[in-house]
């Protein structure tokens, strides 16, 4: 795999391999010195055109744990602010001969586009409302550690599907892994013809008791009220996952950052069924696996830089 541009592009086998690799890196993260020399001498550039805490810091940490050199370029304070085009920025950065460019952009297709302009491997860290493949991978990883197998699991993705790249990547990712996926939200926030992507569509929480996993999406409150939903109060009344709606057999996920009291109640967030903290933890090992995968695919690493164990670590939780 030369690039990771989308979940759409990759197969279940690719996903299985990445998750297995992430499992093997979990052992590294448990060591007192959390570093392996796998990518020593390689350069990774994080090119972020959008604010990000989790994704950018976990990519940075992942690259550093693999001993790569990391440069972080953010749109504010860089030549992007001076009007440099994406193409020129990428070609300029490519002159430093990076092995990988990790890109976050507010626009769909940015990662795919720059992969034509640079010899480096490109990893999509979120492109507009299109996809966020590493988020989907870390969600699969987290959930699999908890429940063992994903085959046949009933997953409900609830909230603002229209504006969510996480929703699009996760519908594809969960479906590829054999889950039954339902997207649910206000009709104004579900794209037309969404059902043709292979998921069920619901406009209310009726029936959510059948879900094994509830994946709540972030409401972007600043642009919601009055245009897409009449009020956040009404949204919460209809779609908030709270202690009453979250049943004991169900697991709860959320990509963060959470709007407490909007899509999730404090009670739900703090419940033992919530996997939100584990999702963040998984971010580092999954992104280590992705970096290793695209860079070992592009140029064979030398034998001593191989990961500590080619076998996946045993999965946690019950099967």
């Amino acid at each position: 795999m030369k690039h990771l541009l989308s979940i759409e592009d990759i197969t279940r086998e690719d996903i299985e391999r990445l998750l297995a690799r992430a499992g093997s890196f979990a052992e590294v993260s448990g060591r007192p010195i959390k570093k392996v020399p796998a990518l020593r001498g390689r350069t990774v550039i994080n090119l972020f055109y959008e604010a990000s805490t989790r994704t950018s810091s976990s990519f940075e940490l992942a690259a550093k744990r693999l001993s790569a050199d990391v440069i972080n370029v953010k749109s504010s304070g860089s030549s992007v602010e001076k009007g440099e085009s994406l193409k020129d920025t990428v070609q300029t950065l490519s002159a430093y001969d990076p092995s990988a460019i990790v890109i976050r952009s507010p626009h769909a297709g940015a990662a795919s586009l720059i992969s034509r302009w640079t010899p480096a491997s490109v990893i999509n860290a979120g492109d507009g409302k299109h996809e966020h493949p590493t988020q989907a991978l870390l969600d699969l990883y987290t959930l699999r550690r908890r429940i063992g197998t994903l085959e046949g699991a009933n997953v409900w993705i609830v909230g603002d599907v229209l504006h969510s790249r996480v929703a699009r990547s996760n519908v594809l990712a969960f479906t590829k892994m054999g889950c039954k996926v339902t997207v649910c939200g206000p009709p104004t926030l579900i794209p037309r013809e969404m059902d043709q992507l292979g998921c069920h569509v619901r406009f209310s929480l009726d029936g959510i008791e059948s879900a094994d996993v509830i994946y709540a999406l972030r409401m972007q409150r600043e642009r919601m009220e009055g245009t897409f939903v009449p009020s956040l109060r009404e949204y919460a009344a209809c779609f908030q996952i709270d202690g009453r709606r979250l049943r004991p057999h169900q697991l709860l996920m959320h990509p963060g950052p959470v709007n407490r009291g909007v899509e999730l109640s404090a009670e739900a967030i703090d419940s033992p069924q919530a996997l939100i903290t584990q999702q963040v933890e998984s971010g580092v090992v999954v992104r280590m696996a992705v970096l290793f995968e695209v860079l070992s695919g592009a140029r064979e690493p030398s034998p001593e830089s191989a990961p500590p164990s080619p076998q996946p670590a045993p999965l946690g939780g019950v099967a």
């Binding site: 297709g109 507009g128 299109h130 794209p191 992507l197």
Partner: protein, 456 residues
């Protein structure tokens, strides 16, 4: 009902640079002109820019000094006309100017084109219009007509001085690129048409439905996470304006239809007696939103590429005549502007040089449309504006397109007569190549490799 008073008005103008009138004999070409019901092998003699004789193959002799063009195996049609091109002048001469745009038209087999007024400055007063006509008289390879805006600055608020613009020769009024958002302003423009004349050509889109959409709303947009432009954004405005035109007895032309609902709305309006005509573009007739899945900005245009069902409705409409004509909506953009992510790239593609080949390849060759019907629809685009309908008739000004329908060619990344390269068919192999274009009596284009002889 009131009809448009064209009688006292000066006619719309077409301007072009001085050109030498052709003397040529096209020998033994397959001549197709659906209007004069010619469909067979003929010699065509052009003398001093007029069609002087149409004769049996081998029957006509070239006068001394006339050019002899071997037409064996080739087709001769009335040359095409395009009521909808963007020449980007004034303001973006880096993308296109009157010279390059009219050369592109000639290379595509067109003998006359109408330029849209959404330039910088907007063509909303007679001074700008006259300056463009002057330039066309110096540079244009084929006759070019200029349209003027319906509203000042295309802001949708105040009408332009339509009477003066019409007197100066504006070919039509249009705010193309933008809809006339206010129904009240649209109604006033239709009322004022009784004084100023000229057809109102309308870009139909309801901004509150299109919002920030960048492609057709449907499964592809859902999969890509792109904001969609629903079909009803277009069709509701088509219905609104047909209703207003009916009420005011006005004359409208709907630009670049893209949706089935719009075709149905026009069909119903025509049946109700509304004075409405409409056009469809080669890209909407041949491509769908499936192409956008690649996020290639060469598939970004407004209106957007829609579904296969919409495309079929457009083809049916073109065949039946609900859609009156083909118009390219030739929209050049600088390379660096299209080398951007899909959402921020500008809308529009070039089309003059590929229109005929694309439609031959995707509509005629698979049997969706007869060649003669295509020729009819590609030559009908100026009729709604009271301008020429090219025809191959003895005594008519020579407007002839000579094409090789067996020639396949790959649409390149460069090599256009246009200054811009943002073509939706780039990389595709198309069939049908224009070899010679005679526009208003003069040879406007000749493919470089095409052999000619001079009679001795």
């Amino acid at each position: 009902m009131n009809s448009v008073p064209e009688t006292r008005m000066r006619p719309p103008r077409l301007d072009r640079a001085p050109a030498k009138l052709a003397n040529a004999l096209i020998r033994s070409a397959k001549v197709i002109d659906p209007r004069t019901r010619i469909d067979g092998y003929h010699d065509l003699l052009i003398r001093s820019g007029e069609i002087a004789e149409i004769g049996a193959p081998g029957s006509l002799k070239a006068p001394d000094g006339a050019e002899v063009i071997a037409g064996e195996g080739l087709h001769a049609f009335p040359a095409f006309v395009d009521p909808h091109v963007h020449l980007r002048t004034p303001g973006r001469e880096d993308e296109e100017d009157i010279d390059s745009g009219s050369r592109a038209a000639a290379a595509g087999g067109f003998c006359a084109i109408l330029a849209m007024p959404n330039t910088n400055p907007v063509v909303d007063d007679a001074t700008v219009l006259r300056a463009l006509q002057d330039r066309a008289r110096a540079e244009a390879r084929v006759p070019v007509g200029f349209t003027a805006a319906i509203t000042r600055g295309q802001a949708g608020e105040e009408l332009t001085e339509m009477w003066e613009l019409a007197e100066a020769g504006a070919a039509a009024f249009t705010d193309d690129g933008l809809p006339v958002r206010s129904a009240g302003v649209m109604r006033q423009a239709l009322q004022y048409q009784r004084l100023a004349g000229r057809v109102l050509a309308l870009h139909e889109e309801e901004p509150s439905l299109s919002r920030k959409g960048v492609m057709h709303e449907g499964i592809v947009a859902a999969a890509l996470g792109l904001a969609g432009i629903p079909s009803v954004s277009e069709s509701t405005m088509v219905q609104r304006d047909c209703a207003l035109a009916r009420y005011e007895g006005g004359r409208i032309h709907i630009q670049h239809l893209s949706a089935r609902e719009s075709v149905e709305a026009i069909d119903a309006a025509k049946a109700a007696g509304v004075m409405v005509t409409c056009e469809a573009s080669p890209h909407h007739l041949t491509l769908t939103d499936a192409a956008v899945h690649s996020l290639d900005t060469h598939f970004k245009m407004n209106p957007p590429l829609r579904t296969e069902d919409d495309r079929q409705a457009l083809i049916d409409g073109l065949r039946s005549g609900v859609i009156d004509c083909v118009a390219t909506d030739h929209a050049p953009h600088a390379r660096e502007e299209k080398e951007e992510v899909f959402e921020t790239a500008p809308m529009g593609v070039t089309g003059l040089e590929t229109a005929f080949a694309a439609l031959v390849t995707d509509l005629v060759m698979p049997g969706h449309l007869k060649l003669a019907t295509l020729v009819e629809r590609m030559t009908a685009g100026l009729e709604p504006f009271g301008l020429l309908v090219p025809t191959i008739t003895k005594g008519a000004p020579a407007n002839v397109c000579l094409a090789d329908l067996s020639a396949s060619w790959e649409v390149g990344d460069s090599g256009y007569e246009s200054r811009s390269v943002n073509n939706a068919f780039a990389g595709r192999t198309l069939t049908g190549r224009v070899l010679v274009t005679v526009a208003d009596g003069a040879v406007a284009y000749r493919e470089r490799s095409f052999a000619i002889g001079v009679a001795r």
